[in-house]
Symmetry: C2
Subunit: 504 residues, 2 copies
């Protein structure tokens, strides 16, 4: 780079990092709202968030930043590789921001804070009508946003693009078309096997304080750095923050081991991605997630491909018994392993097994697409939810808290977010297939408590590149193939057919 170009890039970096510091401040406000904030502070928090959002919007759309981006792009070939990534990605997000009116951005932020507070209450009371007006409002605002951004085929695409850049509803539909039939078939095979794991093992008494300690022990062993993060409780499990400050949440139920434990490992998978970026690039796109699909590939991999593996439990089971002697001393490892892999259609997504999980996603994807495209009214939502639950999973929730109110996403206007979970499952299986090819003894390493091999591999291949490649390209570069659903299908068959005595 010549000096003047270097100066332009430095100024660009300064502006980019200031936006990051402000966004990270917004992240703390959001975390605080869900974990710490006193109830009466909701209106104040909404005003704080809206003010901050307005400032971030001003910065994202500032003429000076655009000028600098134009300047950098005009000399693109003279830029270092990292600088090319940063200018490309800041162009993408600032182009998006410029299409959204400031007032709309602020109103969305303001409504998120209040709608979320209402969702918490509605969920506690299982009172959908209480939440409905806020959902209406959130959806109307997000439709406005989608229309302001523009789209080719579906209004949904404009929202999906925020979470999974360049993906489309059509592609997501194609994924589900390939994925659902073999999954439905596998669910049928399992049901017909007549084998039922002893899942009451998981509903014995697991004192919350010991669950907390065991969870911390486990995520530390897997590689989450608690010196640069923390674990708390919130109504909906989540991960916020980046590199030196990554916060996970979970929620405990004394009489259900799997909810908090696998939830926490899931969040720790997100957390290790966030901790794994290249610190030299902190505050720039080069040190942020390639997409939410890639993000979910990390959480789902640690949760399922590690946390629900036999190898993991061969290592962890004696520790489990030490933490919960009264409830686990009489359990055989094989029964425990079968119990944590119980395949059973159930109403709660975050507690779903690996096999039925994607059916929860297709349901949400279809519904939210219809909501955004105004083919479905909010008032008709709970009924449709329950009908589809019956159809796809054969499990009707006992009430709306266990049904349509279970997820926080829509209260935050996160429409287009759910499909990234299924993309994550796809990517996870494909990446894991690759790492197992590179380390044929990976499962034995897990048995011996070595999870660092996997973590280091992910650090190098997936985490540290940040946004250097787009999601699909990253998967192709690392695995040698374009993303393909067959890896997930093969993994599910290979794992669950033997567990349920189904011949392949």
């Amino acid at each position: 780079m010549d000096d003047r170009l270097g100066q332009a890039y430095d100024e660009f970096l300064h502006l980019t990092r200031e936006i990051y510091y402000l966004a990270a401040t917004g992240g703390i406000l959001e975390w605080d709202q869900q974990v710490m904030m006193p109830a009466k502070a909701a209106p104040l928090r909404a005003a704080q968030t809206a003010t901050l959002t307005g400032i971030i919007h001003d910065r994202m759309t500032s003429p000076r930043l655009k000028e600098l981006l134009d300047r950098l792009e005009a000399s693109r070939d003279a830029l270092a590789a990292d600088a090319q990534v940063n200018s490309r990605e800041m162009r993408r997000v600032t182009d998006r921001a410029r299409k959204i009116p400031r007032q709309l951005a602020q109103e969305i932020a303001h409504t998120q804070a209040l709608a979320q507070a209402c969702w918490v209450e509605a969920r506690q009371k299982s009172d959908f009508p209480l939440f409905a007006p806020w959902l209406e409002k959130m959806l109307a605002l997000r439709r406005q946003e989608a229309d302001a951004i523009g789209y080719q085929e579906s209004r949904y695409d404009a929202l999906l693009d925020e979470y999974e850049p360049h993906a489309t509803a059509r592609e997501i539909e194609a994924v589900f078309t390939r994925l659902c039939p073999p999954i439905v078939e596998l669910v049928r095979e399992i049901a017909e096997s007549g084998i039922q794991p002893k899942c009451t093992l998981l509903t014995r008494s697991f004192p919350v304080e010991h669950q907390r300690e065991f969870g911390l022990w486990a995520i530390r062993r897997l590689g989450f750095d608690l010196g640069a993060g923390r674990v708390d409780v919130s109504a909906h499990p989540m991960t916020t923050g980046n590199l030196t400050d990554v916060r996970l949440t979970t929620r405990y139920n004394e009489n259900y081991f799997a909810g908090a434990f696998f939830g926490l490992i899931h969040e720790a998978g997100h957390g290790m991605y966030e901790q794994g970026f290249d610190e030299r690039h902190q505050g720039t796109p080069r040190a942020t997630a390639a997409s939410l699909g890639i993000h979910e590939s990390q959480s789902r991999m640690w949760e399922n491909l590690v946390g629900r593996s036999l190898a993991f439990w061969k290592y962890a089971f004696p520790y489990l018994q030490a933490f919960f002697p009264e409830s686990t001393q009489d359990i055989a490892l094989e029964d425990w392993y079968a119990a944590v892999n119980d395949v059973r259609p159930s109403p709660i997504r975050v507690e779903a097994d690996e096999v039925t999980y994607n059916l929860h996603i297709v349901l949400r994807f279809e519904i939210e697409k219809d909501l955004v495209e105004e083919r479905l009214k909010v008032a008709d939502l709970p009924a449709l939810w329950n009908t589809k639950m019956k159809e796809y999973l054969g499990a009707v929730p006992a009430n709306d808290a266990q049904g349509v109110l279970q997820d926080i996403h829509w209260s935050l206007g996160l429409v287009g977010y759910f499909p990234t979970y299924t993309l994550g499952n796809l990517y996870a299986a494909q990446l894991f297939h690759t790492v197992e090819r590179e380390f044929p003894d990976l499962q034995q390493r897990f048995e011996g408590g070595d999870f660092l091999t996997l973590k280091r591999w992910l650090n190098g291949k997936i985490h540290s590149p940040g946004q250097t490649h787009r999601a699909a390209e990253l998967v192709r570069q690392v695995t040698g193939e374009a993303p393909d659903a067959r890896f997930l299908v093969e993994h599910l068959r290979a794992k669950f057919r033997p567990l349920y005595g189904v011949s392949s």
Copy 2:
């Protein structure tokens, strides 16, 4: 107000409230840093805080805000009383902000975050040299700030003014001149009395979890609203936030009851002030503290004039015994009351008794004044600290953690803050004298568990006016007299001479 003036005032309010929302966000960041933040996040937090400070500075010094203030002041007599308060106080703080260069404001914020993190570590290790370079830097920055602001007599005045508007070092010296001799005399009388309360009662085993519960019970009874606040643990007790979100911290020691308990009541006193402003004015000076002296009058009143009173313990003692049966069942109320009022020179300010407390303040005031006026070097600070401790209190700290490193204030550059504690003690005694005149049965009410009478009186007289009056004027209006040290002296004599069998 005519329509155009009304519009100007509305715009002024909008800008003022946005500054408040940003400052409140800064408050959450600071609270989070002291209570929640992972250690490795300190540099990121420093950058976040500096960015936010820069934005707040831009807003405080914006030409539009100044224009609106000019417009409002030109029509001052046409403004409603509240609008007069808001424009007067925004003029004061924006005038101050305009004198401080943006970069200096940012550097102070950035340094605060890092210096504070270093102070936490230095205090843990009792390592003053580790902290010394940060203190040097903080002091240099604050000196720059004082010089930018300007002053008549002492550079110290420019800093003091931020916490106690319009007060001067000369006035503070006059207060100490009136206050110290009778206090030193009272300390001597008490020492010569030969009476020593059984203060080992306080160092029995008080399990932390029960201390936490008893503390929450107590502050709820006194009137702190936990629906609009919370209580956590931090290295240094503090209160942050306002109206709907007021956060207190304390710190527990299983073998010392008085530290956490009276510390928490102290913070709850601050908290009730913050919760007691007029909510309609949230986000404006009309709903913020008149001064830190008034703030401390609230915390010190609840801590000492209520929490260390015989009447309070007549009510609370059975509850204490219920929460800590093993450690308190054999204690007589009179012995407990004497123990929590043990007058004994000791090295820690926040654990000092009511009588010696102000000697801790005069020591800090003299030292920080010398530091700011460059008559004292940072390297000589620990030695001077210990010399003065010996001279004023006859108690030399065992190490620097118990000595010069005990308080967080200087790590945050809070120079000029300490004297507000003594002003608070003065104001508290004078205000309490007035409320006891209005409610001659106030002590009996405390005995019956009625603390609402006092809280309501404070809500009406002190809290809800916010910054309507300046501190000294507020005290004069409420008590009928200018602030006077004699009320504090009289209170201390009236309470402690009988306790120690000293004839008056």
